[in-house]
């Protein structure tokens, strides 16, 4: 055997645990779930083929499916753009050349590395209507804060607020994007008499659009799979105001043992994400500017 052949074998041997894990625990369940979505399957007894019934019921007879899909869409439409604006804004601020800037960057990035479960648990205390920090501060200026997570008018917005807490993750990517913008563009613009606003809107933002596009796509995908904070903080309540699609899918799969139905839900979600991502890619020609393009 040639040296290259031996090296190939060694390489495959080393990655084989990952390949085996991927095939067994990702690829196989992924493919299997297509079949399961056409069956009635309770995990214990063998799946029973029922054709398109799961999809038919989802579309026509399950109001919670539409309610949760709408909640999720609403979350994506509000939280993702907000996250982009907050992330870009923060990155612009933290791109300044001031003393101790690396400390500020670290401080703003830190929340994004705290596990979501821990953040959610802490926010449950922060948003406690009686003894929470937020209502405590509001109380000092004479405002009686709402019962954030227990009030159906506020619970959804509380989760949006929590989403912004982790904006440091995307902020770092925006910051890297800002560092990538050639300095000579700013120099030329300044010589031409462009002010700060013009430089920001004509150079910074257009140059940052590939990064914004990346974060937008990732944010949309993440938003459609939104689960953990709602599961921990509100369990879908109050009054279904925070019952997101993935939460309902989880209930169907693991609480009601409706794995066939849940598989159908997962594939509808997958199809939805693919379509929206495709639409986003279709729009990028209009607003994403790649250097040298």
């Amino acid at each position: 055997m040639t040296l290259q052949g031996r090296r190939d074998i060694a390489g495959y041997a080393f990655v084989s645990p990952w390949i085996a894990g991927f095939l067994l625990f990702t690829a196989w369940p992924f493919c299997r779930s297509i079949y399961l979505s056409f069956t009635s399957y309770d995990v214990v007894t063998p799946p029973k083929w029922i054709g398109l019934v799961n999809y038919h019921v989802l579309a026509n007879e399950d109001p919670l499916f539409w309610k949760t899909a709408l909640n999720t869409l609403k979350y994506a439409v509000i939280a993702v753009p907000l996250g982009v604006v907050a992330g870009v804004g923060l990155a612009l601020l933290l791109n300044s050349k001031i003393r101790g800037i690396s400390i500020y960057r670290t401080l703003f990035f830190l929340p994004s590395i705290v596990p979501t479960v821990a953040t959610s648990a802490v926010f449950m205390w922060i948003l406690n209507p009686q003894i929470g920090l937020v209502n405590g501060l509001l109380g000092r200026i004479g405002i009686t804060g709402p019962a954030w997570l227990a009030d159906s008018k506020w619970a959804f917005w509380s989760l949006i607020l929590l989403g912004l807490w982790g904006v440091g993750g995307s902020m770092v990517i925006y910051l890297a994007g800002l560092k990538d913008i050639p300095v000579h563009l700013y120099e030329a613009a300044t010589i031409d008499g462009a002010g700060a606003w013009t430089r920001a809107t004509r150079i910074t933002l257009p140059s940052l659009t590939p990064v914004i596009f990346f974060n937008l796509v990732m944010g949309v995908i993440g938003a459609f799979q939104y689960f953990t904070p709602a599961y921990i903080m509100t369990q879908g309540g109050p009054e279904d105001s925070t019952r997101f699609y993935a939460l309902y899918l989880f209930d169907r799969a693991f609480r009601y043992l409706d794995m066939g139905y849940a598989s159908a839900m997962a594939w509808v979600l997958f199809a939805g994400i693919v379509v929206i991502t495709w639409l986003l890619f279709r729009t990028q020609r209009r607003w994403v500017h790649y250097g040298g393009g």
Partner: protein, 451 residues
């Protein structure tokens, strides 16, 4: 030559590493657990208790292992959040426990799917006759599905009233004349409520139980065993929901939410707001008696049955509990059944009575309740007697034994939530409950599932 040796060693190390990674997860639970009695037949027992409760379970298991020389029960505490999934996957994968203690609403679903085995197949005719004759109706109901026994209760949970007599006296009420109607208790509760200058609740006189808990007292309920039918949108259920909604409206939904949010509501380790006097009267379970003895031994309190409304059904209530199930694919069913008999006291109630006192659990039968050790326990904790008296009642209801029980429970809670927030009228909330369950039943039919 040296280079060739180095390569050989390198390959050897690589091969060992790769093989090691594949070999890592091969040790089974049995191998890891230290066997005290390696020559006996192992009986694997899963449960969900932890902390102080786990110590009680271990003690009972130890007592069983010392009581005979054929089986060794090996107990494993499984995290509650993953217990059901672990059990199902174990059952499908051929590695289930031999017996499991449960309290989740699993019996109808697991029985219908054939995951658990009916105890009828394991009991001798004599044992079956004893159980049928001795066990309280609620004990039988908790474990029953389609006429068979799938679960043996080892501790029923009931909710009754806990109250602080001194607070009643301070409000000019006589704690010795505790209200005998729900209306009377609500009226007393109003006299005990306290608000601050801004009108915010600082103390609650009486907080009723949940909708599921309170409905039987109004003559309602969510299942009619005589017709084997769900009963959702009924007049009695409406009366119960209307009562709870009216009471919450009087207090102010937002007010109750705020009030409760400021309290320590941890269920264990003495974190119960009743201890700090936040409520004068509250509905809670019998396990609080044991906890109060441990964490607030000086607290002067009493218990009383939840009073029914005028014209309602006294002595009813809603029960659930801890019960044993045996998987159909269990390897050692005989040993598992032997252990269940030992703990539950079907065959030796006097011996088992002690186990019930260890966890502050309600008895399986009068034979357990009348055992000297159990009577001594009641004498030690007189507040417990309210629950022991109540558990005998044939009017206590359990969760509807339908395979989609979790779904029904979720919908009942949702209806309660909508009505108590005032978003929907009780009528509309119940109509929504009926409609959601009807849709689910229809969906199950279309999928060819059992109703």
């Amino acid at each position: 030559m040296a280079g060739a040796n180095r390569r050989l060693i390198g390959w050897g190390v690589a091969a060992v590493l790769v093989a090691g990674i594949y070999a890592l997860p091969t040790r089974s639970t049995d191998e890891m657990a230290a066997r005290k009695y390696p020559n006996r037949i192992p009986v694997r027992f899963w449960h969900m208790w932890s902390a102080e409760w786990k110590a009680v379970v271990d003690k009972i298991v130890d007592r069983y292992n010392k009581s005979q020389d054929k089986y060794e029960v090996i107990a494993l505490s499984v995290p509650g959040s993953a217990a059901d999934t672990k059990f199902l996957l174990g059952s499908i994968g051929g590695s289930p426990p031999d017996v499991m203690a449960q309290w989740n609403p699993v019996i109808p679903t697991w029985a219908q799917e054939g995951v658990i085995t009916p105890f009828d197949d394991l009991m001798s005719p004599q044992e079956k006759a004893t159980f049928d004759h001795d066990a309280y109706p609620v004990v039988k109901a908790v474990g029953a599905y389609k006429g068979k026994i799938y679960g043996i209760a080892i501790g029923i949970n009931l909710m009754e009233i806990y109250y602080l007599p001194q607070q009643f006296r301070d409000a000019g009420l006589d704690p010795d004349q505790f209200p005998t109607t729900l209306e009377g208790l609500v009226a007393d509760g109003q006299k005990l409520d306290r608000r601050d200058a801004n009108g915010h609740l600082t103390h609650l006189g009486f907080l009723p139980g949940s909708y599921q808990q309170m409905t039987p007292y109004f003559g309602g309920g969510f299942y009619d065993p005589s017709r084997d039918k769900l009963t959702l949108d009924t007049q009695q259920n409406l009366e119960a929901l209307s009562f709870l909604a009216a009471e919450r409206k009087r207090l102010g939904f937002d007010e109750v939410t705020r009030f409760q949010a400021g309290l320590n509501t941890q269920s264990a380790a003495g974190g119960w707001p009743f201890i700090t006097g936040a409520y004068s009267a509250v509905v809670d379970g019998q396990w609080r008696v044991e906890q109060l003895a441990k964490y607030a031994p000086k607290l002067v309190y009493r218990t009383a049955p939840i009073p029914a409304p005028v014209g309602g059904v006294a002595g009813s209530g809603y029960g659930n509990g801890n019960f044993m199930v045996i998987p159909r694919s269990a390897k050692e069913k005989a040993g598992a059944w032997d252990f269940v008999k030992f703990w539950s006291g079907i065959t030796h109630p006097e011996r088992a009575a002690e186990f019930y006192t260890m966890g502050g659990w309600l008895p399986l039968s009068d034979k357990v309740a009348n055992a000297p050790i159990y009577q001594a326990y009641i004498k030690k904790y007189p507040q417990f007697k309210t629950f022991v008296d109540a558990v005998r009642s044939p009017k206590i209801q359990v969760a509807p034994p339908v395979p989609y029980q979790v779904f029904v429970n979720d919908q009942v809670q949702k209806a309660e939530d909508f009505a108590l927030r005032g978003t929907l009228t009780p009528q509309a909330a119940l109509a929504g409950l009926q409609s959601a369950v009807d849709e689910e039943v229809k969906r199950r039919k279309e999928m060819g599932l059992d109703e």
